[in-house]
C-alpha cells in the first residue's frame, strides 16, 4: 500500500489504472472474495482521487483501493453479512470507519465475503458459498474475514477492513500470509458494524505488511461519540520506523505450545521468536492459567450476545420477510428459518439457552466471572513482559469443507485468538513461515490495551528482518 502510494505520487500509475486493473481481475476471481463490487463508485472515486494527488502529498490513503468486509455498513451499497436475511439490505448510512476512509479519498472497491454474520472461521457459512485460499484453491482462506484476507493476499485490493470477534481478522490473515490487527476494544468505532457479539467485536485493518496495517489503523482509529464503548483519549499516529527490540520482554505462554499445535506451526513460530531474540529481545516464559477456559467462556458470551443482537431480524421492518405467514408467530418463524443459515441458528440456540432463566447463573454469569479471571491473568502477565507472543492458530489452512460437520473441533481452533477479544487487548498476526505444504503460518503478538504502537513497531521490526510477508500466493492478480 505504501509502495503504491509512492507510485501514485511519482506518477508511475494512477488510482484509476490500478482500480480498473483490480476490477478486471475480480471478474475472473476464482477465490469468491467479493460479495458486492462497486465498479462505478470505485472508478469515480479513483478518478477524483487521481486529480488530487500531488508529489508532496502525505495522505497514503488517497486513491488507495480498499475492500470492506460485508458486515460493515456502506451507504447506498448492499451490506448483506453474507446472509439471506439481509441480502436485499442497503444501508442509508456509512459505518464510522467507512466515512473516515471516504474522507481520506480511499477507493471502496466492494464488499468482501465472510461467514454469515461473522460466525465461523472458514467463510463456509456464507450464503454465496465459501471463499478460497489463494495459496491453494482447495484450502480455506479462514474466516470470518476470509474474503478480505484472500482479496489482500491475491492483490484484489491494496488493503481491507475486517472484523474480529474471536480471531476473525488474525486467523484468516495467518491462513493467507498477510498481516492483520485486532485493535484494542474501544479504539475503533463499532458504529455501522453489524453486531455479532458487541462486547467482543472490533473492526481492524488487514494488509500485506505491518506498516500498511499501521497506516490503515491510524486512518480508522479514534473516539466516536456515536459508539458509547469508544474510548475518548488522545490517539497519536503510529511511528513506522520499527521498534528497537533491545531489551523488549517477550512473554511466551506455556499454554500456547501444548497439545493440538502442529509441528510446522510450532517450528515456524519458534523461529520467529528466535528472530526477535537476535534483535535483542528478552524471552520470558509466562503463565496464563485461565486461558484454558477461554474457548468455553467465549462460546457462551459470544452466542448469548448474538442471540440478542440478531433478534432484530424479524421480517417486520427490513430485510427478508417469510412468505405465507398466517399470523405473527408464523411470520417470525418463516422469516428466521429461511433467513438464517445453520451455524447462525446453532449459535442463536446456544446463546438463548445460556441466557434462559435457571441457566443464566450457571452459564452467562459464570462465564463473565471467568472472563474477569482471564483479564487478571493478562494484567499480571503484562507486569513481567511487554508483548505476549505465540502462534495465531494451531494449524495452517485446512481443506475447504474439512471440518464442516465438526463445529466443536472448529471452535477449538480459536484457542489462541480468543483471549485478546475476552480481554480487549490488541493483537497482531504476522506471517512467520510456511508449512511443508507451502501454506503460510502466522505468529500472534499481543500487547496491553492501547499499546498498538509497540505491537506494530515489533511487527515492522520483524518484517524488516524477514521476507515472509513479501511472498506472493499461487493465485495472484499481479
Amino acid at each position: 500500500m505504501l509502495d503504491l502510494a509512492r507510485n501514485f505520487r511519482m506518477g508511475n500509475i494512477s488510482p484509476l489504472d490500478i482500480t480498473e486493473k483490480i476490477l478486471e481481475a475480480i471478474k475472473h476471481d476464482p477465490l469468491n472474495a467479493y460479495i458486492t463490487v462497486d465498479e462505478t463508485g470505485a472508478k469515480n472515486a479513483a478518478k477524483k482521487a487521481g486529480e488530487g494527488i500531488r508529489r508532496e502529498s502525505n495522505n497514503p490513503l488517497l486513491g488507495m483501493p480498499v475492500a470492506i468486509k460485508d458486515n460493515i455498513c456502506t451507504k447506498q451499497m448492499a451490506t448483506t453479512c453474507a446472509s439471506n436475511i439481509l441480502s436485499s439490505f442497503v444501508p442509508t448510512y456509512d459505518a464510522h470507519v467507512v466515512e473516515k476512509l471516504k474522507k481520506m479519498g480511499a477507493v471502496i472497491v466492494g464488499k468482501t465475503n465472510m461467514d454469515e454474520f461473522a460466525m465461523g472461521s472458514t467463510t463456509n457459512t456464507s450464503n454465496i458459498g465459501t471463499s478460497k485460499n489463494p495459496w491453494d484453491l482447495t484450502k480455506t482462506p479462514g474466516g470470518s474475514s476470509g474474503g478480505s484476507a484472500a482479496a489482500v493476499a491475491a492483490g484484489l485490493c491494496a488493503a481491507a477492513l475486517g472484523s474480529d470477534t474471536g480471531g476473525s481478522i488474525r486467523q484468516p490473515a495467518s491462513f493467507c500470509g498477510i498481516t492483520g490487527l485486532k485493535p484494542t476494544y474501544g479504539s475503533v468505532s463499532r458504529f455501522g458494524l453489524v453486531a455479532f457479539a458487541s462486547s467482543l467485536d472490533q473492526i481492524g485493518p488487514m494488509a500485506r505488511s505491518a506498516r500498511d496495517v499501521a497506516v490503515l489503523y491510524d486512518a480508522i482509529k479514534g473516539y466516536d461519540p456515536k459508539d458509547s464503548t469508544s474510548v475518548d483519549r488522545g490517539y497519536l499516529p503510529t511511528t513506522l520506523d520499527g521498534l528497537d527490540m533491545q531489551g523488549v520482554r517477550l512473554g511466551v505462554p506455556k499454554a500456547f505450545f501444548g497439545k493440538g499445535l502442529s509441528t510446522d506451526v510450532e517450528g515456524a513460530v519458534k523461529d520467529g521468536i528466535a528472530v526477535f531474540k537476535e534483535l535483542g529481545a528478552k524471552i520470558i516464559a509466562i503463565d496464563l492459567p485461565n486461558i484454558r477456559y477461554g474457548v468455553a467462556v467465549y462460546y457462551i458470551v459470544a452466542t448469548a450476545e448474538a442471540s440478542s443482537n440478531l433478534a432484530r431480524y424479524d421480517g417486520v421492518r427490513y430485510g427478508l420477510r417469510g412468505g405465507d405467514a398466517s399470523d405473527l408467530i408464523d411470520m417470525y418463524m418463516d422469516t428466521r428459518a429461511k433467513g438464517f443459515g445453520l451455524e447462525v441458528k446453532r449459535r442463536i440456540m446456544l446463546g438463548t439457552y445460556a441466557l434462559s432463566s435457571g441457566y443464566y447463573d450457571q452459564y452467562y454469569k459464570k462465564a463473565s466471572k471467568v472472563r474477569t479471571l482471564v483479564i487478571e491473568d493478562f494484567v499480571k502477565a503484562f507486569d513481567v513482559c511487554d508483548i505476549i507472543i505465540g502462534p495465531t492458530t494451531p494449524v495452517p489452512a485446512f481443506g475447504l469443507y474439512e471440518m464442516a460437520d465438526d463445529p466443536l473441533s472448529l471452535y477449538l481452533l480459536d484457542i489462541y485468538t480468543i483471549p485478546a477479544n475476552l480481554t480487549g487487548v490488541p493483537a497482531l498476526s504476522v506471517p512467520c513461515g510456511f508449512s511443508k505444504e507451502g501454506l503460510p503460518i502466522g505468529m500472534q503478538l499481543m500487547a496491553p490495551a492501547f499499546k498498538e504502537d509497540i505491537l506494530l513497531g515489533a511487527g515492522i521490526a520483524f518484517q524488516d528482518h524477514t521476507g515472509f510477508h513479501e511472498m506472493r500466493p499461487q493465485w495472484n492478480m499481479m
Partner: protein, 476 residues
C-alpha cells in the same frame, strides 16, 4: 370471611425530555406516524445507542424526592422478547441495579397518613405502537414512541385498599408533575399504571397468589379494575378454589378483567447486561447538583401553606396541585398579607379563567401585582366584591391594571357618607308606606331600601356603608 387486600403498583412515567433516550429524535406526542424516527430507534443493523444524560438527571430528581438510595454504578440491561413494536427484539432497561431503591412516598388516607415503600425506580425505553386495521386484517406500526424515555416506579405491596392505591397514584402523579419530569397525562399514556393484587384471610401472615393487572388508562379505570379484581379474588377463594397466577387485562367496555397470559405462558426475558452501553457512574457531585435544583415537595409545601399562612387544608391542597399555581399564590402573598382572601380569588376566579382558556398560569394576564392591587381596592372600599369580579374579568381579557379599569368604566364605589345620606333620605321619602311597615317591625325591608339605593347609583354605592346609613336614618 374477612380479607386483607394487598396492592403493589408499577407506574411508567414518560419523561418530558425533548429528545429520546438513545437518539436525538423528538419525543412529541401526536405527530404523523413514523416521522420522529431514525436508524437508532427503529433498530437498523450496526446502529448503536447513546444515552441521553437528561434521563439520569430526571431519575435522580425523583429518587431524591422519594427518599431513595441512588445507585453509584448504573448498568443497563437487555430485556429480550419478540414483538413487532419492539424494533431491536429487546428493550434497553435496568435490571439488577436500578438507579433508585428503598424509598418511600407518604400519602393521605381516611385513617390519616400512610407511608408507601418504593422498591425501585429505573430508566428504560418505550416501545412503538401497533395500530390495527379492523376491516383489512392488517396492522400498522408507529415507531414515534419507540425510544421515548420512561421511568418505571415500582412500589412495595403496601396498599391495602383501592382508595390507598388511588391516593398513592395521585400523590406520585402530582410529584412527577411538580418536578417537571412527566406531564402526568393518563389518557395519552404518559402516566401508565399496572397493579399487582392479592388477597388473604384477615390477619394471615402469608401473601395470597397474586395477579397482575394491565390496561388501566384513567384513575377511574384503575379504581374500577382494582375493585373488580379484588372481588374476583375473594369470590374464587370463597368458592373454595385457588387464584391462578396470571396477567389480567382490564376490559373497559365489558367492565371486567380477563386473562391475558398465565404464568406458564409468561416470557423468559433473558436479561443480561447491555454491552453497547458503558455503566453510568453517578457520584455525589452529580446528586448534589440535582438536589440544588429540586423545588419544595408538594406535600411539604401543603403543610407549610397551612402552618404559615393559616390556610384550611382544602385551600392548601388545591393551591399546591401545581407548582406554578403555588408560586403564583406566594408571589401574591409577598405583595399583600391577606393569604385567605388571595386564596379565595385564586381558587375561584384564577382557576376558572385558567380552565376556560386551558392556559398556563405563567401566561395569565392578571399578574400577582394586579390581583393584589385589586384586592386592596376592595379592602379600601373603593370597589365592592361584586364589582371586583367584573374588574377581574376585564383584567384577564385586556391586561389593564385594576386602577385603570375602575377609572375608565366609572366603576368606582360611592363611599361619600354625605352623598349617600342625601340619596337615602330621598329614597325613604319616596317609599313612605314601606318605611311605616319597617317601623312596625318588618325590619327585613332594609334590604329593599338598600336595593333601591343601589339601583339609583347603578350598583356603585358602598353596600356596607349604605346599609349602615339607611339603618341610622330609620332608627332616628
Amino acid at each position: 370471611m374477612e380479607y386483607d387486600v394487598i396492592i403493589g403498583l408499577e407506574v411508567h412515567a414518560q419523561l418530558l425530555t425533548e429528545t429520546k433516550i438513545f437518539c436525538s429524535c423528538p419525543t412529541t406526542f401526536g405527530d404523523e406516524p413514523n416521522t420522529n424516527t431514525c436508524p437508532v430507534c427503529i433498530g437498523m443493523p450496526g446502529i448503536l445507542p447513546v444515552l441521553n444524560k437528561k434521563i439520569v438527571d430526571f431519575g435522580i430528581k425523583l429518587g431524591i424526592a422519594t427518599h431513595c438510595k441512588i445507585a453509584k454504578t448504573n448498568i443497563f440491561a437487555r430485556k429480550n422478547y419478540f414483538y413487532p413494536d419492539l424494533p431491536k427484539g429487546y428493550q434497553i432497561t435496568q435490571y439488577e441495579s436500578p438507579l433508585c431503591e428503598h424509598g418511600f412516598l407518604d400519602i393521605d388516607t381516611n385513617g390519616g397518613g400512610k407511608r408507601i415503600g418504593i422498591t425501585r425506580i429505573h430508566m428504560e425505553e418505550d416501545a412503538g405502537k401497533l395500530i390495527h386495521d379492523l376491516k383489512g386484517h392488517r396492522s400498522f406500526i408507529d415507531f414515534n414512541r419507540a425510544g421515548v424515555p420512561l421511568l418505571e416506579i415500582v412500589s412495595e405491596p403496601d396498599m391495602r385498599s383501592t382508595d390507598e392505591a388511588d391516593a398513592y397514584l395521585r400523590e406520585l402523579r402530582q410529584l412527577l408533575v411538580y418536578l417537571e419530569i412527566c406531564d402526568g397525562n393518563m389518557e395519552q399514556g404518559s402516566f401508565r399504571c399496572d397493579a399487582n393484587i392479592s388477597v388473604r384471610p384477615k390477619g394471615s401472615a402469608f401473601f395470597g397468589v397474586r395477579t397482575e393487572l394491565k390496561n388501566m388508562n384513567s384513575f377511574r379505570n384503575v379504581h374500577r379494575a382494582l375493585s373488580y379484581e379484588i372481588k374476583r379474588h375473594i369470590d374464587v377463594l370463597e368458592s373454595g378454589r385457588e387464584v391462578t397466577q396470571q396477567t389480567m387485562l382490564w376490559d373497559e367496555a365489558a367492565n371486567a378483567t380477563r386473562s391475558m397470559r398465565t404464568k406458564e405462558e409468561s416470557h423468559d426475558y433473558r436479561y443480561f447486561p447491555e454491552p453497547d452501553l458503558v455503566p453510568v457512574m453517578v457520584d455525589n457531585a452529580w446528586i448534589g447538583k440535582i438536589r440544588k435544583t429540586l423545588p419544595e415537595m408538594p406535600r411539604e409545601r401543603r403543610k407549610r401553606f397551612e402552618d404559615v399562612y393559616g390556610l384550611p387544608g382544602y385551600d392548601a391542597d388545591i393551591l399546591t396541585q401545581s407548582r406554578d399555581v403555588a408560586d403564583y399564590f406566594e408571589n401574591c402573598v409577598s405583595l399583600l398579607d391577606s393569604p385567605k382572601e388571595i386564596s379565595n380569588w385564586i381558587m375561584t376566579e384564577v382557576l376558572r379563567v385558567l380552565k376556560e382558556g386551558a392556559a398556563d398560569i405563567k401566561a395569565l394576564k392578571v399578574t400577582p401585582k394586579m390581583l393584589t392591587s385589586m384586592i386592596r381596592l376592595i379592602d379600601d372600599g373603593a370597589i365592592s366584591g361584586k364589582m371586583a369580579k367584573d374588574v377581574f374579568n376585564e383584567m384577564a381579557k385586556t391586561g389593564k391594571s385594576p386602577g385603570e379599569i375602575v377609572k375608565d368604566s366609572g366603576l368606582k364605589q360611592i363611599s361619600d357618607e354625605e352623598h349617600l345620606k342625601s340619596l337615602a333620605k330621598a329614597i325613604l321619602e319616596d317609599h313612605k308606606k314601606e318605611v311605616e311597615s319597617y317601623k312596625k317591625g318588618k325590619t327585613q325591608l332594609i334590604g329593599f331600601f338598600v336595593g333601591q339605593l343601589m339601583k339609583a347609583t347603578k350598583g356603585k354605592a358602598n353596600p356596607e356603608l349604605t346599609n349602615k346609613i339607611i339603618k341610622e336614618i330609620l332608627e332616628e
